[in-house]
């Protein structure tokens, strides 16, 4: 049974003045129905761009894409714009990073919600639906919020509005790009718990993009670790935290401070590569403590556990992931 979302051998290149920037370097990714999957990685590793690509939001004509993104069997990259537009807002919905900036300041909250609602099943009482949606995200005075402008509301409230917006048409897949990162930590925590509860209830799939490992642990069933346009490790969440194998994953986990203070966080030496002339083979090898000359060739996935794959020479196996 095919997964809800299947990304195969995806490459994304931008033709820039400076050269060709190879931002996504051949990734494979799946999201099953009802599953919550996270992509974790540093800023600039290509994860946000993946979301834009799925939705077909990259409109410029300097974009070169290879590979396929299959949603429920249909390759989104091959769809005409009109067909793609039908899926957006109905079967796939997105929540972006900054809630204050994601809402139009010159329209009331209700107007914006209504636009989204009208993209869903027709002939609903839009106001009633909007109201119910806000109540579901634990907004206690939905009428006031609906009649207000976004700048009148707090960041946390706006974030909930956006979550409500993403759920109101019962989409199959929700793409969440660093939700709540622009808010303070406690609000972010609430946001995530809310999203988890609601998506569990509806059995919606979620593809969550984040740089925050804590978020991953709370929220995701499965994780993909991404570095410089490549997936370097993928595993179910508990397994990843228990047995991180890829040097990059290990370094990431080591860079998180612990409450007990028994260990100081360590950064990772070096910098994210220049995508117009990236390192050959494994893109992490210039910064990797375990690098050898073998690493200059592309590393296939090796299986190290149940559903746990690593792309590193340390874990090559005879059967490839």
């Amino acid at each position: 049974m095919p997964a809800l979302l299947e990304i195969d051998r995806l490459h994304l290149r931008f033709r820039l003045f400076e050269g060709i920037s190879h931002v996504i370097n051949g990734i494979d990714l799946r999201v099953e129905r009802g599953e919550r999957v996270a992509i974790v990685g540093e800023s600039g590793c290509g994860k946000s761009v993946t979301v834009r690509l799925i939705l077909g939001l990259l409109q410029q004509n300097n974009v070169l894409v290879e590979g396929s993104i299959r949603f429920d069997g249909v390759d989104l990259l091959q769809l005409k714009r009109a067909r793609l537009r039908e899926i957006r807002g109905r079967r796939i919905c997105a929540v972006f990073q900054d809630p204050m900036a994601s809402l139009n300041p010159t329209f009331k909250v209700y107007d914006q919600l209504r636009t989204v609602i009208q993209r869903g099943e027709a002939r609903r009482d839009a106001y009633a639906v909007a109201r119910a949606a806000l109540q579901e995200v634990a907004i206690t005075d939905p009428d006031r919020v609906l009649g207000a402008y976004p700048f009148q509301l707090s960041g946390g409230l706006n974030q909930r509005v956006l979550i409500a917006m993403s759920l109101v048409n019962q989409p199959d897949l929700i793409l969440a790009d660093e939700p709540g990162t622009a808010l303070d930590v406690t609000v972010q925590e609430q946001t995530l718990l809310l999203m988890r509860r609601l998506t569990e209830q509806r059995q919606s799939s979620v593809l969550l993009i984040t740089h925050n490992l804590g978020v991953v642990r709370e929220f995701a069933d499965r994780v993909y670790v991404m570095y410089a346009g490549n997936i370097v490790e993928q595993a179910p969440t508990p397994e990843l935290f228990a047995n991180p194998r890829h040097p990059y994953t290990q370094a990431l986990l080591a860079s998180v401070p612990t409450l007990s203070g028994e260990r100081l966080p360590e950064g990772i030496d070096g910098m994210v590569p220049d995508y117009t002339s990236p390192p050959e083979g494994c893109r992490f090898h210039p910064r990797c403590p375990a690098a050898t000359s073998v690493c200059r060739r592309p590393q296939p996935f090796g299986t190290v556990g149940e559903n746990h794959l690593v792309a590193c020479r340390l874990y090559r196996s005879e059967h490839h992931g």
Partner: protein
């Protein structure tokens, strides 16, 4: 709503203050500028006693503050003095000529917005392709060309070369003007149902109004384009796209409304520029409006008329600015709504 009304009230109050300031300014200019206004009006050949008589008539022989008070008192009575040129009360002259200018300016403003803003939206939508480049060149020409040059060009093109629009004047000679309701020929003709007169008057109005509107049109197009491009780059437009809102809808509504705010804020100034341009356009087209009246007043040193028209134009300008503020306040809720509870 209440906060908006209080904002409006504050603006009105401020405007009244400014108007008083303007009256003082005009008064000061009229009295303090070197030279004897009465002598200037009568010319070097007039006799001294004639000059003295005029000075007395114009209250020039009293101390300045008293002159100002007298000025304001007469203003309150609606008395702007007698025009030295037409020998009629200035107020009467203004009443006769103001509607014609109002007509031109209204149509000019309409042209400016109805053509300028969509032009900017178009340019932004087709960014860097040929419609954009064409629109930008046109807008730049609009802004850089003086209105009297536009007037002449348009006249050459449409009246002489192509010949579809009349050359000058308000109405063709063989037609009688409609019954007087507002004084504006087109409006009166519309209200009273004289369709032929309306159409004729409208055709006479097109070239002058267009000449007036050109600079503002160009400015509106450029501003709208720039603001639309800014709008397109925002997170909320990206969110709208992500939810599948049609590109056309985005151009029409989501990106447009926030872009209109900074555009409209500046538009008041361009409307004012039209009032300035009216002086030139009315002269070229021999349009019987307030501006042409003022130019004649200046050429004939008709002091009362100059003072009167300046005040009226200033007041009109202030009213226009308030209206623009109302419109901006409607589209930009942030002006009058403060950030409230969480």
């Amino acid at each position: 709503m209440r906060s908006f009304l209080s904002y409006l009230a504050r603006r009105l109050l401020a405007s009244i203050g400014v108007l008083i300031g303007v009256s003082i300014l005009i008064f000061v200019i009229a009295r303090v500028i070197p030279g004897d206004p009465a002598r200037i009006a009568l010319g070097p050949t007039a006799s001294q006693s004639q000059v003295e008589a005029l000075r007395h008539q114009l209250y020039l022989d009293r101390p300045l503050p008293l002159q100002y008070l007298e000025f304001v008192r007469r203003l309150g009575r609606g008395d702007l003095g007698i025009s030295l040129y037409t020998n009629r009360p200035v107020v009467q002259d203004l009443e006769a000529y103001f509607p014609a200018t109002l007509e031109l300016v209204l149509l000019g403003g309409l042209i400016m917005l109805v053509i300028g803003i969509p032009l900017g939206v178009l340019a932004a939508y087709f960014r860097n392709r040929w419609p954009d480049n064409a629109a930008r060149v046109f807008a730049l020409l609009g802004v850089a060309t003086p209105s009297f040059v536009w007037a002449i060009f348009l006249m050459l093109l449409f009246s002489y070369a192509i010949g579809i629009l009349p050359v000058a004047g308000q109405l063709s000679e063989n037609l009688k003007p409609p019954p007087h309701v507002t004084g504006m020929l087109t409006v009166d003709a519309l209200i009273t149902g004289h369709w032929v007169v309306f159409w004729n008057a409208f055709r006479h109005m097109l070239l002058p109004s267009a000449s007036l509107a050109m600079a503002g049109l160009g400015q509106a197009a450029r501003l709208t384009r720039a603001n639309m491009l800014d709008s397109y780059n925002t997170a909320y437009v990206e969110t709208a796209r992500a939810y599948g809102v049609a590109e056309l809808t985005i151009a029409r509504k989501y990106a447009l409304r926030p872009a209109l705010i900074p555009t409209f804020t500046v538009m008041g100034l361009d409307f004012a520029a039209m009032l300035g341009a009216a002086f030139l356009v009315e002269v070229v087209f021999n349009w019987p409006g307030v501006a042409r009246y003022a130019v004649e007043a200046i050429l004939h040193k008709d002091l009362n008329a100059i003072v009167g028209t300046t005040l009226v134009i200033a007041a009109f300008f202030l009213v226009v600015n308030i209206i623009v503020d109302i419109v901006v306040g409607y589209i930009n809720p942030r002006i009058h709504i403060k950030r409230d509870s969480r």
